[in-house]
Each structure stands twice: as structure tokens, then as C-alpha cells.
Symmetry: C2
Subunit: 335 residues, 2 copies
């Protein structure tokens, strides 16, 4: 059969293999290359012979040379505040599953919730020629560098200014928390928030939900850590001993609230009901099991990966907003 001469040649970065495969299979290097690039014009017998010889030699084609020819690295950059935070781990799982089906891989970098480190991470990823990028919980309000038209998709960014983004409807989440505490017959609620846009939106929805029953609420500020939850609950209970419900902006802070209640001898949910936010692994392991507002983190990651693929294909991508979901457990009691 004729051997076309215009095929991209695969080069293994350490220079081994393809010549040997071609020699043993009795074909040209270009034919070996076409077999591994899935070009359709290779005779089936030839293809089989090449694959057998390649397997016998332990030859693995390198995507480095192939992708250079194609102008694609098949890598997607991912900037995440901290990979050891379970909510982000679930998002990464969702991203990875979608990309894996397309043969693409995640190149990982951490931002530690810092705008400067986020920018540095983006430059680092771009030096590896990523085809696109996803940023979880971006803290910057400046656009990340975008050479070669690389697109960045944002998941739950602090600033809602990015055209390609995936986020939760936090206002609706706050509304669900209010409804649940009202359902449990509570009239004296408090909100424990944290800095940033997400907490402010959760509070807005919570306040609106309580207002429909003409109820006000107390408030205190934490920082998403367990300790800050304990301290905020202690302050509120000192000043307002009649409180019978807490809505807390994150499950880790809610763990701290539960501890404050245990140490004061208050029963949950009999004396005080608690609703958290996130539903990563933690909530269901607390004692009592925590009622919380679920962020579909895996699904949000998967949606961000699909947006990235759309942009890579040159398609338009619209922002995606996920609805939150109430997960009722022991800390608000039975209906």
C-alpha cells in the first residue's frame, strides 16, 4: 500500500522505539505513527502487525510529539485552593471523570485562597501548554493570562464577573435553611457567617426566608474553621440564651457549633436545632448527624469540565447555576 508522506511523526521524547517498531513490523515510521494516531487509512493486517510489535517492544507512543504536531496538549489546568479539602476533592473527581472519557488529563496547581498564588499557578500551568483551565474559588478580580486564547472556567468564584462559571444558588440555599428551621418550629434563630460573597448570599436567602414569617435573627461572624464556630455560638448563647436554632455557613463551623452545644449541656435538636452548609463527607459523621444544605460538588466539577470542552471546541458556554438541596438528618429532628 502507498505510504503518505504528510503524516505527523510521533517522536518518543527519549528517542526510543518507533524506528524499531517500524523495522520489526516491516513498515515505514509514518505508518506506525498513523496506527497510533488512529488514522483510518491503515490496512487492518498492517495495523495488527504494528500493534503486536509495539506491544512486544513495550513501545508507548508519546503524546508530547503527537500533540505538538496537533497543536494540543490534551491537558487541562486546574487551580484549587487546597486539594485536601473534601469539597474540592469531590469537584476534582467530577472534573477528572469527564476529562478522562475524552482522554484528557488534569494538571494540578494550588492557590491557597490567595490571588497572587492563583496568578502564579495560572502562569505555571500555561508554561505546560494547557489547552484550557478551571479555577475553583478564584479570589482575584483580575483576568488570568490567556495566551493562545486559553479559556479559564470558574467554579464558585469570589467575584461573579467571569463569563464562564459554575456556581451554586447560595441565596436559595439560605432560603432552604430558613424553611427547615421554621418547619422544626424554631422562632429564635441565629446565623453564623464568614467573610466573602458565598456567606453573604446564604445570609440574604436565610433572612428573606425568615421574613416571610416576620421573624428576625441574630448573627455572628466566623471564618469557616471549627474553632470559630464554637466561639461564635458561645458568644451568641451568652447574649441570647433563648436561641433555639443555628444556620451555619459551613459544615466545619457547624461541627464547632455542635461542640459548643454539647459542652453547655444543650440537646440537639431538642433544645437547639442546627443546619450546616456543603455536605462534604463530614456532615454525616458528626454527632448528631448534621442536617445541611448540599452543594453538588461532584456535579459542579463535571459541569465545569464540560464547559471547558465546549470552549475548546469553539462553542459558546453559558454560566451554569446549580440548585442546592436540603439533606435532613438528626440535628433538626424528624418532621
Amino acid at each position: 500500500m502507498p505510504e503518505p508522506t504528510s503524516t505527523a511523526v510521533i517522536t518518543s521524547p527519549r528517542g526510543s522505539g518507533i524506528r524499531e517498531v517500524a523495522r520489526l513490523a516491516g513498515v515505514s515510521i509514518a505508518t506506525v505513527s498513523r496506527v497510533f494516531n488512529d488514522a483510518s487509512a491503515v490496512n487492518p493486517d498492517t495495523r495488527r502487525r504494528v500493534l503486536e510489535r509495539a506491544a512486544a517492544l513495550g513501545y508507548e507512543p508519546s503524546s508530547l510529539g503527537r500533540n505538538l504536531a496537533r497543536g494540543r496538549s490534551e491537558l487541562l489546568g486546574l487551580i484549587v485552593p487546597d486539594v485536601s479539602f473534601p469539597l474540592y476533592g469531590q469537584m476534582i473527581s467530577g472534573i477528572e471523570d469527564v476529562l478522562g472519557q475524552r482522554g484528557m488529563s488534569i494538571l494540578l496547581a494550588s492557590s491557597h485562597d490567595d490571588a497572587d498564588r492563583e496568578l502564579a499557578a495560572s502562569r505555571h500551568l500555561l508554561r505546560h501548554a494547557v489547552d484550557g483551565g478551571i479555577v475553583i474559588n478564584s479570589q482575584t478580580d483580575a483576568a488570568l493570562p490567556s495566551p493562545r486564547g486559553v479559556n479559564w472556567v470558574h467554579v464558585s468564584p469570589e467575584h461573579g464577573i467571569w463569563p464562564c462559571r459554575v456556581e451554586l444558588d447560595n441565596v436559595a440555599g439560605g432560603g432552604l435553611a430558613a424553611l427547615e428551621l421554621l418547619r422544626a418550629g424554631r422562632r429564635h434563630a441565629a446565623y453564623i457567617g464568614a467573610p466573602g460573597r458565598e456567606s453573604a448570599e446564604r445570609e440574604r436567602g436565610f433572612a428573606a426566608g425568615l421574613r416571610r414569617d416576620d421573624l428576625a435573627y441574630r448573627r455572628a461572624q466566623g471564618d469557616y474553621t471549627e474553632l470559630s464556630g464554637t466561639q461564635a455560638a458561645d458568644r451568641l448563647l451568652e447574649e441570647f440564651p433563648a436561641l433555639d436554632a443555628f444556620f451555619v455557613a459551613g459544615d466545619l463551623m457547624a461541627a464547632g457549633v455542635l461542640r459548643a452545644l454539647h459542652l453547655r449541656g444543650l440537646r440537639v435538636p431538642d433544645d437547639v436545632a442546627v443546619v450546616g452548609f456543603d455536605d462534604a463527607v463530614l456532615a454525616s459523621l458528626l454527632y448528631p448527624r448534621l442536617t445541611t444544605i448540599r452543594q453538588p460538588a461532584y456535579e459542579m466539577g463535571a459541569a465545569a469540565a464540560r464547559l471547558s470542552l465546549q470552549l475548546l471546541a469553539g462553542l459558546r458556554a453559558e454560566p451554569v447555576t446549580f440548585p442546592p438541596e436540603l439533606v435532613r438528618r438528626e440535628s433538626t429532628g424528624p418532621p
Copy 2:
């Protein structure tokens, strides 16, 4: 100044930029390439002019072309059972910090604790021409493919046969748990284990520690899930109501044991003491806070990354064994 002709030329994968930078800076493409490769022979004024023009054009050099010339991708493959498991997240953080200091990046793939998927993940990473790889909790006893001499470093592998590995001294961890329960005055202990080598080693150390005081122990098997911990504790307490201590092979199972004790009205640690294993985020958030045997996950990840760099540099790498550490909290009470 003379322009050498033997310098590797940076090519941007979408073909943009370097020519334009060279033209605007009034230098050759090879000079632009040398500036971005940090070759020392570029005149400082020329270097500054090139960097200014590159910044103005938003030009980012691609490592794809550069690394192809160098024969290195600067990528390290990482195979992890599940990124959303906090212990692995901490290991990834340690790996990432060490590699980041060397300008290298992590390419991520998941194995879901399955030997076949681990092999598929390794092939996927190799197609991206990783320079080396790290496998967390490998389940296979067959060597992963190693074209071009790529080395795989194992962290806590199920089979202790790999020359390059990082692991915890699990036997010593079991010994620490026995000592802690003896210190707390317990004489009727049980072990709740799970399948696999790590649990078997933890039990071996636990048994040896108790034997020094001529004590036997009861045992039951779980599977590292919370529910299996609750069920195993229930079975043991039905049969042996006099039990006053549990050593549990993982913190998640220990959360289930605490729940079983709460539901039976048994006080922790007054009636029953509990020691877990891992000390990822969870242990300190349980009620009561869980005494546990700490795996230094971040440090183990960092050690694996350093082993990988040694192997890449052509140096020998010896296995690294980390000592475990007792973290005493509320579930075994004050000394």
C-alpha cells in the same frame, strides 16, 4: 552580538508569538528562545527588551516545544485511589509542594482501588510522557509499564515488593495503640480491622503490645466505612459486654464505633476508650475528639516526590519508612 544557531527553538503550540516578539525586540528567534530558557549568554539589555515585548504581546513560552527538545515533560504522574479522601488529599499537597519548587507539575489519574484501573491510569499518564510517577495505595502485584525507564514510586502499596516506596510503620502504630489503652487502665480490648496488609500489620503490633501485659483481645472485621465500624462494635458488645476499649484500623470506622457507643448509652472514655488510625481531618472533629495514630500524610507525599526527583536525576533511592505518632485526645481520656 553573535547569535548562536544551535539553541533549541521554543514553539508555541498554536504557532503564535515568538516570531512577533523577536521582530518587535529586533532580535532573532533563537535569542528570544534563549531568554526564556534562562541561557546565560544573553546581553542584559537584550534580555530586558525581549521580556518587555513578550509581556506587551501577552506571549507565554510553551514548555511543550522546549521540553521536547530537552527530552523531559517536567510532568510527574500521580495515581491516587480517590482524590476526595482527605488522607490522600494531604499526600497530594506534600507531593505538589516539593514538585512546585522544582517547576514540575502533577498530572492526576484515579485508580478507585482497582488494579485494572491502576494499570489503565498508568498507561494514560505515560501517553502524556510523564518523567516519572507516584502511585498511592497500589493494589497490583504486577509492575506498571515503564517505557523510557520511567520510575514509579509507591506510597503505602498493598504489596511490599516495590523497591521505591514510602510507607508507615503500621506495626509500630498498633503497638502505640496498645500502650495507650494500657495506660488508660483498660484490660478488655477489641480490634476492628479491615482487609489488606495495613490492617494486618496494625493488628500484629497491637497484639504484641498487649501480650507484654499477658492480655488477649477480641476482634471483628469491617471495611473502613463508618457503617462497618458501627456494626462491628455492635456485634462485639453483644457478645462481650465487658469490653472497655476499641482499637480501630481507620478513623472513619472509629466514627462508626463512637456512634454505636453513643446509641448504647456508653460513655467515652469513661466506660469505653477508643483509638483510631490516620488522623486526617476527621478525628479531631468527632465527639468526643478521637485519640488516634497519626500517619504523616503530607510528609509521606513530600518524601515520595523527593524519591521521584532522585530517580529522575539518576540517583539510587532507598525505601522510606515513617514512624507513626500517637495523638491523644478525648476518647482515651486524660493521663
